[in-house]
């Protein structure tokens, strides 16, 4: 198993402690294309943050490829993130004053890859996204779909074990959304990449092979979706 979650609990401390994740057990194998679905407040964002080593958890175990991810120092967490995980965000999160290729190079910069090599690898991934001509452009000169593809190139450039996509189509129109999801599916099929998509759109979830439903901090159901017939309109199952 690439990802193993065992009885993971997370409580946000505050005036009124909020028990967000109540014993999550989840296994995701290498090469799987999984979506995590749930309404807002269901704990899916928290789960994503834990999976992405952006946040810690209180009890339980989280392992990536057998490595226990728990109580890491900030430095260690940063290194693991850099090496193992590629992020794709709803709002792209590109750095505005850097060109497309510079954005893609950034993770490699933090790996200490030499400048020339960095540029070559970044261009290679931009090329795969069909953005060679846009390499020198700044994010505000590109469309949403292009920006998201730059972000995908940035996520892929370090050859991570896991791609985490947080509402990757949230800010895109429906046509572009389909294109981006197709792109992710292709990456999963061709490169055997492990991709986890967090979404509340059933249409997005339907593209993936496995749908994990999360509700009130517990996993409700895990739906095999190899035929991709989960209704985009939420008629069949627990989808809203």
């Amino acid at each position: 198993m690439l990802i193993e979650l065992r009885d993971v609990n997370k409580t946000y401390q505050g005036a009124q402690p909020l028990h967000v994740l109540k014993g999550i057990d989840l296994d995701i194998d290498r090469g799987e294309f999984v979506s995590i679905m749930g309404a807002s407040g269901s704990g899916k964002s928290t789960l994503l943050n834990i999976l992405g080593i952006l946040d810690g958890y209180d009890s339980g175990e989280y392992r990536i490829d057998g490595t226990l991810i728990k109580d890491l120092s900030e430095r260690q967490a940063a290194e693991y993130r850099n090496r193992m995980i590629g992020f794709i965000f709803q709002s792209y999160n590109l750095i505005g004053f850097k060109t497309a290729v510079e954005n893609v190079e950034l993770p490699l910069f933090y790996q200490g890859v030499p400048r020339r090599e960095r540029h070559r690898r970044a261009m290679e991934y931009l090329d795969r996204m069909g953005l060679t001509d846009w390499a020198g452009h700044y994010p505000n000169e590109m469309s949403g779909g292009q920006k998201q593809r730059v972000a995908i190139a940035r996520a892929l450039v370090t050859k991570p074990d896991i791609i985490l996509a947080d509402e990757p189509t949230g800010a895109l129109d429906s046509k572009t959304s389909v294109e981006i999801m197709e792109l992710l599916r292709e990456l999963n099929r061709k490169d055997r990449l492990t991709i986890i998509v967090v979404t509340h759109e059933s249409g997005v979830a339907n593209v993936t092979d496995k749908i994990v439903h999360i509700k009130d901090g517990v996993i409700g159901a895990i739906e095999e979706n190899s035929r991709h017939d989960a209704s985009p309109f939420g008629e069949t199952t627990l989808m809203k």
Binding site: L54, R75, E79, R81, R83, S91, N93, F97, Y110, T158
Partner: protein, 435 residues
């Protein structure tokens, strides 16, 4: 390193105005620091220049009046030093410290006449070694010689101001002439005979005007003065140079022992501090140096405080910058930036900004002090009796510049510390949410 610099450059370029304004505060701070230190140095050099013609390690001693009864004698007795006191000065245990001893006698209230001109004269009978000891600067002619002493010649060495007066010129009549040109006129008096209270003396040397005051001193051989005024073997003032007394305590102990010896030789109480006057230039200089040190320290402190406001400005702006860049820093962290790398990024930016603008300020400060040096060349205060240089060489040395450089690096680091720590501890989840 090159990547780091590029990151910083692109950030600074986005905020040109802000960077320049912040930089101005730092540049101004260091400019003021350099200017203050330069002006302070000018003042200190001026004062040092005025005391520069004293020999650093020397003591004067002269006879005064006793204030304590001793050995059957009442207080209020006049003490006058004798030739033997010069010999006593060279006896153990003082011989370990004392180098040269010279004596002098005075005759005041005299009038020197040359032709129809005259001036007040204060005659000082000295030995030839006196000139070196008191750092008298000969302009023309020669100083007194051993032969003058032996033959009791009637020769005189005087200051150029007195010589000029005797030649009938004065500042009022020679307005527009430089100090050097005025002094050159005094040369004419060499070889001429001047009457001092009716006795003709041949002028053999002209010395640079004595800025320390004391009126118009004229130097003649001690043997001549003794014979002319029947002064026997009394000595009005005893001078000696010494070495090996490094601390104030050592000097005081020496003075006390010396005083005791002279007091006893003159049948005065050994603890009578009034029987013999002692003036130690070494401790005077030490005290003066202490005062200079305080001035210098005060200037540094004022300068550093000025600089501090600039540094606080940098720190403030960096904090704002970090706050503005929270989102970007969060992205960097999410894709693998370690806290250390962000710390380095912000700290380096801070050091570079302070360093660059600091150097601009330092350069302008040095230019300003050089300009000050040009316009204040020999700014001399004339207090009538004597002249005093108040401002001289108001520049800072390489040492100050190096010190200021070090200060800038430290300042930059301090300024960047708080913002950098904040940047390093940006929490990526919150940063990414904040949009």
């Amino acid at each position: 390193m090159k990547d780091l610099l590029q990151e910083i450059w692109s950030n600074l370029r986005r905020n040109k105005l802000r960077t320049c304004l912040t930089g101005f505060a730092v540049a101004w701070g260091i400019f003021m620091l350099i200017l203050l230190l330069g002006a302070g140095n000018g003042l200190i050099h001026g004062i040092e220049g005025n005391s520069g013609n004293y020999m650093a390690n020397s003591i004067n001693a002269w006879g005064r009046t006793t204030t304590l009864p001793w050995d059957g004698l009442k207080e209020g007795r006049r003490i006058s030093l004798k030739d033997e006191d010069a010999i006593r000065t060279k006896e153990p245990p003082f011989d370990a410290y004392v180098d040269e001893v010279a004596t002098a006698i005075y005759q005041s209230g005299l009038t020197a006449v040359y032709g129809s001109e005259y001036t007040n004269s204060f005659l000082m009978g000295v030995e030839p070694g006196f000139a070196a000891m008191e750092k008298l600067e000969l302009m023309y002619g020669r100083f007194l010689s051993d032969l003058d002493m032996r033959e009791q010649r009637k020769v005189v060495v005087m200051g150029s101001n007195e010589a000029r007066e005797l030649l009938g010129t004065s500042d009022a009549r020679e307005a527009g002439l430089s100090v050097r040109e005025k002094a050159r006129k005094a040369r004419k008096l060499i070889g001429k005979f001047v009457n001092i209270n009716g006795i003709p003396f041949q002028v053999v040397g002209i010395i640079r005007p004595d800025e320390r005051g004391g009126g118009s001193r004229m130097y003649i051989p001690m043997s001549t003065l003794r014979t002319l005024y029947r002064r026997g073997d009394t000595v009005d003032e005893l001078y000696f140079s010494f070495h090996g007394l490094k601390t104030k305590e050592a000097n005081e102990a020496f003075e006390q022992a010396y005083r005791k010896k002279l007091n006893l030789a003159h049948r005065a109480a050994p603890n009578d501090n009034n029987a013999i006057g002692i003036w130690n230039r070494f401790t005077m200089n030490m005290e003066m140096e202490g005062a200079m040190g305080i001035i210098r320290t005060a200037l540094w402190i004022i300068g550093i405080l000025t600089l501090l406001s600039g540094i606080v400005g940098v720190s403030n702006i960096m904090l704002i910058s970090v706050k503005e860049r929270t989102h970007e820093l969060g992205i960097r962290k999410a894709i693998g930036a370690t806290p250390g790398s962000l710390l380095r990024l912000i700290l380096t930016e801070s050091v570079l900004v302070t360093g660059f603008f600091g150097y601009v300020g330092m350069f302008l400060g040095v230019v300003a002090t050089e300009y000050l040096d040009k316009i204040s060349q020999n700014m001399v205060m004339d207090v009538g009796l004597f002249q005093m240089t108040v401002f001289k060489d108001p520049t800072v040395g390489l040492g100050v510049c190096l010190g200021a450089t070090l200060l800038l690096v430290i300042a930059g680091t301090l300024a960047g510390l708080a913002p950098a720590r904040r940047a390093a501890h940006v929490r990526p989840i919150e940063a990414l949410r904040a949009e």
